[in-house]
């Protein structure tokens, strides 16, 4: 049982990183800190998917052996190469994560222009003041 837990150490680190990111998104009040937490969360999920594709032993990256012209070329066993499917999926996930980060940073600059602060509690106080002022009139 202990051996089984220790052999999957990548997955434990993935859970730890995911919880660090979740804490930063929920517990921190600065909006840039929340965004950093979101980045850590996304990379932890990519770490999980890449860890699935890893095989024990001497598995290699190329899936065919030989020179590519028919000499010495033969179909090799599945256990001899790393699973390329999670890698390709996570390639897309990295690009999507950088796109969401860019949109979030643009929104953040607009928030700073309007409220002149990036702290969540200060923004909430300003919004509350503005709404109470509106109801008084």
């Amino acid at each position: 049982m202990l051996e089984y837990i220790l052999a999957k150490y990548n997955f434990w680190i993935y859970v730890i990183l995911m919880m660090i990111g979740l804490y930063a998104m929920m517990g921190k009040r600065n909006l840039v800190k929340k965004l950093i937490g979101m980045n850590i969360f996304q990379t932890s999920i990519i770490l999980f998917f890449v860890s699935i594709g890893v095989k024990a032993g001497d598995a290699t990256v190329p899936i065919l052996k030989g020179d590519g012209h028919g000499h010495g070329e033969h179909l090799i066993q599945v256990a001899d190469y790393l699973n390329p499917l999670p890698h390709v999926l996570m390639l897309t996930a990295i690009v999507v994560s950088i796109a969401t980060t860019g949109v979030a940073l643009a929104t953040l600059i607009l928030i700073y222009k309007r409220y002149n602060t990036l702290e969540e509690d200060e923004i909430m106080a300003i919004r509350k003041d503005a709404s109470s002022y509106k109801t008084q009139r």
């Binding site: 921190k28 009040r29 594709g53 390639l91």
Partner: protein, 81 residues
């Protein structure tokens, strides 16, 4: 896959992640996040995912850090927590 190198890189990654969310100076936090991305890229090279590694190095660590630094320069650098 060399498990000693794997363990060292994973420890560095967790330390970088904790440091990035605890530092009050936002520019330092963003730079540490870039270091975190590069460690992640090393880990993926070591796990055999070479294509993911160079995409992370160019897109995640490169462009991501540049976007973060530009946004921090346009807004405030200090953070309360």
């Amino acid at each position: 896959m060399i498990w000693q190198l794997d363990i060292v890189l994973l420890i560095f990654i967790v330390v970088c992640a904790i440091a990035a969310i605890n530092i009050k100076d936002l520019l330092s936090a963003v730079i540490i996040l870039g270091a975190y991305s590069f460690f992640m890229c090393l880990l993926w090279t070591e796990m055999g995912a070479v294509d993911v590694a160079f995409t992370e190095a160019s897109v995640g660590a490169g462009i991501g850090t540049v976007l973060f630094i530009a946004a921090v320069n346009k807004t405030s650098r200090r953070s309360k927590d």
